[in-house]
């Protein structure tokens, strides 16, 4: 019965392959590769405007440099905006390769970097190594919409400029998201919890210390 035993094992394995449904399989042609983001704030409606620069894979032919297109969405938080953006696109947005986040100077001055940096750090795909740039233009989106003198993806160019600047002229301090966070987060909070019984001496101690 060795043959049947092997057959049974093979059948179990075959089921495993089908039932897994190709877990986490995401086809490259069903992704919108977000290269950069620009974040503005609308004071009247109290919403964030987020512009996504997406590599435009369909438009360009293979010889010329790849162009990008811009998708804009709004939301009460960055996360909300990112979800709203998905409704405008047929494919899902993929943030894993984003390398530049442009923040308008209004956001930086009035709201602070925290909501933005917080989202970058918490999002599963976004990397902590993205470059954070503060735009001096009227809106952050203006920077991504630049057409003068440069063909191709603006975010890639910004990334390149920031990186080269550090080496060549050293005129500014460049920082990636992680270092920004470290520098601009005023209070460092470590979330923690502890299971205590009623008579836990530690709990009493903790209460007295916080009171």
């Amino acid at each position: 019965m060795v043959g049947k035993r092997i057959l049974a094992c093979l059948m179990c394995l075959a089921i495993a392959f089908v039932l897994s449904g190709c877990w986490n399989y995401r086809s490259l042609d069903e992704l919108d590769i977000v290269v950069g983001l620009a974040i503005d704030y609308d004071k009247e409606k109290k919403v964030f405007w987020v512009d996504y620069e997406i590599a435009d894979l369909m438009g360009a032919d293979k010889q010329s440099p790849i162009q990008s297109r811009i998708v804009r969405s709004e939301g009460k938080t960055i996360f909300d905006a990112a979800r709203n953006a998905k409704r405008k696109e047929e494919d899902r947005l993929y943030f894993g390769s984003a390398n530049t986040v442009v923040i308008s100077h209004q956001v930086a001055k009035e709201i602070g970097l925290n909501p933005v940096l917080d989202w970058i750090l918490r999002d599963a795909e976004c990397r902590e190594t993205v470059n954070v740039v503060i735009s001096q233009e009227e809106t952050a989106a203006n920077l991504l919409e630049t057409t003068e003198g440069y063909k191709g993806i603006i975010s890639v160019a910004i990334n390149q400029i920031v990186r080269e600047d550090k080496k060549v002229t050293a005129s500014g301090i460049t920082g990636r998201c992680s270092s920004f966070t470290a520098a601009f987060t005023p209070k460092k909070i470590l979330p923690w919890c502890r299971l205590c019984t009623k008579k836990c001496a530690f709990r009493e101690k903790f209460r007295s210390s916080t009171a």
């Binding site: 392959f17 086809s27 042609d29 790849i66 390769s97 890639v156």
Partner: protein
């Protein structure tokens, strides 16, 4: 009721052997008769409807009138030997001596070096069908077998599928004796033993087991004889018939017996304590035991500068890993772990994939099949239509499919890399084909997790392999120089002072420190 996988199959009654014995027995027990006419009648009956057999009766008168019969098979014999050294002396000379008539004939009449006397028809049949001549004498219940073999053989040429840049260019041929002679010529010692066996009920194929007595591992030799002794097969046309029956791990895709077409390789392996099996009718010589590293070793490694050949050997190992892993790795990256790709590469690959109809995993399977088809066609097709294949392969599949956006260009590159690296180690074509598909299936189902699981499975499987009880990969954890001198690199000859310790207990190969003048 027991579940179906626990039920025992009833042992099949093997009455085949008994039937065979009965059938063979009739020939085995058939003895040579004293009467020449009876003998000739039996031979004619055995070879009825076999028109290549020639029968001749010679009668002499004079002092001692005698009658002789000779039987031979046309096409296998040298008619010159038969005419001038058998027929002519039989007609002219009279036997003298004290022995039986047939012995006297052999000692004083027939001018043939290799002779044998028998009274068994089975023996006669086996030899006459291999180009020998039977000599019957009237009144004698024995027959002589005279060696008159002469058949067309291929001349010694360089093996087509084991090309080398330098070193000996001789290859084995289909003749057992010629092959043995090529080994003997290179090993002029009494310690070289050549044991002859016969296998195959119908083909009666001669097989020679060669080894060097002082080097061979006796347990391996005993085990080999034991396994060969159990074989009962009707025909042996190639070394693989036997190797596949007697090998360890018969269901593994990896080789556990070696083969080569080169006499220098065989002698090299004999000198390391291995056993060679030469099979009549094929230029392939099997070697046992077979270590895993032999898949990557080439005889050239020992003939050229060791820096270069060590590099080549590492290339071969990388090629094996690449050809197994690359398709699965590519699918895992493209379909699961896009984070692994730098932005520019990601955009390029994504751009190519935009208008391609099939998912990456299926595309990989299809393209691999196309490549395998092209390769198989290249082997099987008549050689004078090779141009058609290259046009179809290169233009239609390479260019047109990409331009029509049916297949993504990176996939073509991946398949090409897979295919080319797969051809570097031709001895591993079976494991490569099997494990490439397994790795691909796992990787395209579970990403890098599946990739690492499948590669892990493969490594565990390789580590569990043995060849005639010898581990294919030594896991003793010895990293002494002499243990690894011929694994990942080939140490210079003056440093290879001992033989592989897994193969032989007679270690010392050369006295130490005889280098550099």
């Amino acid at each position: 009721m027991q579940p179906f996988w626990k039920r025992k199959r009833e042992p099949k009654i093997r009455n085949l052997d008994k039937k065979l014995e009965q059938w063979n027995g009739s020939l085995d027990q058939e003895k040579v008769k004293p009467s020449l006419d009876d003998n000739m009648a039996i031979v004619k009956k055995l070879f009825a409807d076999m028109d290549m057999m020639r029968y001749k009766v010679i009668e002499t008168d004079g002092k001692n009138p005698a009658r002789y019969g000779i039987v031979f098979c046309d096409g296998l014999v040298s008619s010159e030997i038969i005419n001038t050294h058998i027929v002519k002396p039989l007609m002219l000379l009279t036997p003298s001596g004290k022995g039986s008539l047939i012995d006297n004939l052999l000692t004083s009449v027939v001018q043939v070096g290799e002779t044998q006397v028998t009274d068994n028809f089975k023996n006669l049949v086996e030899n006459v069908t291999y180009g020998d001549t039977i000599l019957f004498a009237d009144g004698c219940a024995q027959a002589a077998i005279l060696s008159t073999k002469n058949f067309a053989l291929r001349s010694i040429t360089e093996p087509e599928n084991e090309k080398v840049l330098g070193g000996p260019r001789e290859g084995f041929t289909e003749s057992l004796t010629q092959n043995i002679s090529q080994i003997l010529r290179r090993l002029r010692t009494h310690e070289l033993k050549v044991r002859k066996l016969t296998l195959g009920r119908k083909t009666q194929t001669a097989i020679c087991i060669c080894y060097i007595e002082s080097l061979v591992n006796k347990e391996v030799l005993q085990e080999l004889y034991r396994r060969i002794g159990k074989i009962d097969i009707d025909g042996v046309l190639e070394e693989n018939y036997i190797a596949e029956i007697i090998r360890d791990h018969p269901y593994s895709a990896f080789r556990t017996t070696g083969y080569t077409e080169r006499p220098d390789v065989v002698v090299g392996k004999l000198l390391e304590g291995r056993i060679a099996m030469v099979v009549d009718g094929t230029p392939m010589v099997a070697t046992f035991p077979y270590l895993f590293i032999e898949n990557f070793q080439s005889n050239e490694d020992y003939y050229f500068n060791y820096y270069f050949t060590s590099f080549s050997r590492i290339l071969r190992m990388c090629a094996f890993l690449l050809t197994v892993v690359v398709p699965g790795f590519f699918i895992a990256v493209v379909a699961f772990h896009q984070e692994m790709l730098p932005l520019q590469l990601l955009i390029k690959i994504a751009q190519e994939r935009q208008s391609v109809p099939l998912p990456a995993a299926i595309e990989a399977v299809v393209m691999l099949m196309v490549f395998e088809l092209l390769r198989e066609t290249g082997v099987r097709m008549p050689s004078n239509i090779g141009q058609a294949l290259s046009i179809v392969g290169a233009l239609v599949i390479g260019q047109a499919a990409v331009e029509a956006n049916l297949v993504a260009a990176p996939m073509i590159i991946v398949v090409a890399a897979t295919g080319i690296t797969g051809l570097v180690v031709p001895k591993m074509n079976a494991p490569i084909t099997v494990w490439r598909i397994i790795v691909l299936a796992f990787a395209s189902s579970f990403g890098f997790y599946g990739l690492s699981v499948s590669i892990g499975l493969m490594l565990i499987h390789i580590c569990s392999l043995t060849s005639f009880g010898v581990e294919q990969i030594s896991l003793k954890g010895s990293f002494k120089f002499q243990a690894i001198k011929d694994i990942f690199f080939r140490a210079p000859w003056f440093k290879m002072v001992v033989r592989p310790d897994r193969l032989t207990s007679n270690h010392v190969r050369q006295s130490e420190g005889n280098h550099g003048g």
